[in-house]
């Protein structure tokens, strides 16, 4: 072997071809099998149903499809969903940033309790989340008579839907930011204040730019969930068509009325919003992968 050209032993040159295989490389048939299982599973569970949604929506042609959106119920549902998201997402943005800032940058009594509370909406069934507000603000509750006397409608009205949505979606941004901010530590902020910056200046000029991509990512996820939430909203909404039905609720009503085209038309729109969110998220990941790494968990 040492008499080959050059006659110098070179550790970089493979002596026999099989040494090229890394110990972690599987045999070909194992690879094919594993990849096939994953693909078939994905197709059956995710892709087929998604295609079905669009297929059903367009089954009776484009005209019927677009006619579905001329219905007043569908229109108000779309409007309401966008309104609810437009209120819930900014609220949770502020809450999420404030909570993460507090958790990541300071030590205080009850901190681990706060972290557990932030995770609560993830672990509680959405139906229960809705029930809580009904029990709190409903006609039978202690607050009920007072609310009625003062003409404040919460349950079976838009405020209730917003509250339920805020509750269900509030962990998204905080959960995205806490690990990121903890990993970044305090030194940038300390540098800023040692240079004379006030608390606000430090937040706007140093902290926020450091977390902006994680924040945007959290906002996207929060938004997707806010538009798609069904359970909690269903409990508090009262299903008053043209007033308190969001898109997911409208889909259910249309479906129960055997208006499949209508149901799937609205469903396709909702799916499209979700897909758009995913595309945007992937774009972010592709563009700012490094900054997002380590914070990805959904």
């Amino acid at each position: 072997m040492f008499e080959r050209e050059g006659a110098v032993y070179d550790s970089r040159r493979p002596i026999a071809p099989h040494q090229h295989l890394r110990p972690t490389t599987e045999r070909a048939w194992v690879k094919v099998l594993l990849i096939s299982i994953a693909l078939i599973y994905m197709l059956a569970i995710v892709v087929l149903p998604l295609i079905q949604v669009f297929f059903e929506a367009f089954r009776k042609g484009f005209d019927t499809y677009f006619a579905s959106f001329e219905d007043r119920g569908a229109q108000t549902a779309i409007q309401l969903t966008l309104t609810v998201a437009a209120i819930a997402v900014p609220l949770n943005l502020v809450f999420g940033v404030a909570a993460s800032w507090a958790v990541a940058k300071f030590e205080f009594w009850g901190k681990s309790f706060l972290i557990t509370l932030i995770d609560l909406p993830f672990s509680v069934s959405p139906v229960v989340s809705g029930m809580v507000y009904v029990l709190l603000f409903g006609a039978q509750s202690a607050l009920g008579p007072w609310l009625k006397a003062n003409d404040i409608e919460i349950i079976f009205a838009v405020p209730g839907i917003v509250l339920a949505t805020v509750f269900v979606t509030f962990p998204f941004i905080a959960r995205e930011l806490i690990p990121l901010m903890q990993a970044q530590g305090n030194t940038d902020e300390e540098a800023a204040i040692s240079l004379g910056a006030s608390g606000w200046q430090t937040f706007w000029r140093v902290t926020l730019p450091n977390i902006k991509w994680g924040l945007l990512y959290g906002v996207l996820l929060c938004n997707a969930r806010a538009m798609g939430e069904f359970g909690a909203v269903s409990v508090v909404s009262g299903h008053i068509r043209g007033q308190t039905t969001t898109m997911p609720l409208e889909i259910e009503i249309l479906y129960n009325e055997y208006n499949f085209t209508g149901a799937f038309a609205v469903a396709s729109l909702l799916a499209m919003l979700a897909l758009l969110t995913l595309v945007f998220k992937s774009l972010l990941e592709w563009r700012y992968g490094d900054e997002l790494a380590g914070t990805r968990r959904h």
Partner: protein, 344 residues
């Protein structure tokens, strides 16, 4: 600006990080806080900056009680160990940050901020790199940006936390010289933290040697190196050997052997004899320490010989010129030239 630390105690959840520390720093001085990790040196620096609050005690800048003031009001230039440059800002924006965040009344006009930032980049020899982002700079360059950024606010004192810790040996040496030059040119009262004794000895006007939250010794590099006041300082600064000895009748003895070292006025008893490998004389006759060569290794221009002394396995190291004939011997007799006794 003078700094005076008075009886400062700092506890982190009951664990004392600083235990009643007092220190005076003269105006314009370059002073090093030196010690192993956990000695409290960084804590002391952060207390001076105001990034931590003392549990007890006070810190004065000149006549003014700085411990009553916030970090912002203290106006200190702090260079962080990992530099803490703002990654979303260019070099120029980093350096001008401290001026840009000033309240309107004291904020210089934009053109003036830019001029001053560029001037500082010139001082730290980074002209032409003002549009780069921190990620695009080498470690040494980041270090200089951090220093320029700290100098931009015209600080009353300059504080540096392990300023060269993250750099490789070559860059360290260059930056060390360069920091000394900058200090001599700008005249800021400067305190820096280091665990590298060589760095501290070379750079500082005075050293503060710390251990376990206390100050062990304060002095010029010569004082600390030649007259360490405790076994800790002897061990920590430079190379040293220690041998168990006794003092009897004003003489130092190792076992039953007089060493020819006079210890007038030292109470009889057991001691440890400390000396440095290069502070020894070889002797041909008369009382001396006699050792059997146990090993030798080349240390730059010297040969460091390890000797076994007496029958109890005590060891000491001495330095010989690398071509000294004694290096070939199996037994060497020597006498410490500079030495100290500490109670055993």
């Amino acid at each position: 600006m003078e700094i005076r630390v008075e009886n400062v105690i700092k506890e982190f959840s009951r664990y004392p990080a600083l235990d009643n520390v007092s220190l005076g720093v003269r105006s314009g001085e370059l002073i090093a806080l030196l010690g192993p990790s956990g000695s409290g040196k960084t804590t002391l620096l952060r207390l001076i900056a105001g990034l931590e609050n003392p549990t007890a005690g006070r810190i004065f800048f000149g006549e003014e009680d700085a411990s009553q003031k916030t970090v912002q009001e203290r106006n200190v230039g702090f260079v962080f160990q990992a530099y803490a440059l703002f990654r979303n800002m260019t070099v120029l924006e980093n350096v001008s940050f401290g001026l840009k965040v000033r309240p309107r009344a004291t904020r210089p006009p934009k053109s003036e901020i830019r001029r001053r930032a560029l001037e500082l980049l010139d001082l730290v020899q980074l002209n032409g790199l003002e549009k780069r982002y921190p990620q695009q700079l080498s470690g040494g360059q980041r270090q200089r940006v951090a220093l320029a950024r700290a100098l931009a606010i015209e600080p009353r004192v300059l504080l540096l936390d392990e300023p060269f810790g993250a750099l490789d040996a070559q860059v360290r040496k260059e930056l060390r010289k360069w920091l000394r030059e900058i200090h001599d040119r700008t005249g800021h009262t400067t305190v820096f933290v280091t665990h590298d004794q060589e760095e501290a000895l070379e750079l500082a006007d005075r050293l503060v040697v710390m251990s376990r939250g206390k100050i062990e010794q304060v002095g010029t590099p010569d004082e600390v190196y030649d007259k360490p006041n405790s076994p800790f300082v002897f061990d920590f600064i430079g190379e040293s050997s220690a041998l168990p000895v006794t003092v009897q009748g004003g003489e130092v003895w190792l076992g039953d052997r007089a060493l020819g070292l006079r210890a007038e006025g030292t109470a009889p008893g057991s001691y440890r004899l400390y000396f440095r490998p290069h502070d020894v004389d070889l002797v041909d006759d008369g009382p001396a320490l006699v050792g059997v060569v146990a090993g030798a290794r080349r240390v730059a221009g010297l040969r460091r010989v390890e000797l076994e002394i007496g029958g109890d396995g005590a060891r000491a190291e001495i330095d010989l010129p690398h071509d000294h004939p004694a290096g070939e011997r199996t037994r060497i007799a020597f006498r410490p030239r500079l030495w100290s006794l500490f109670p055993a």
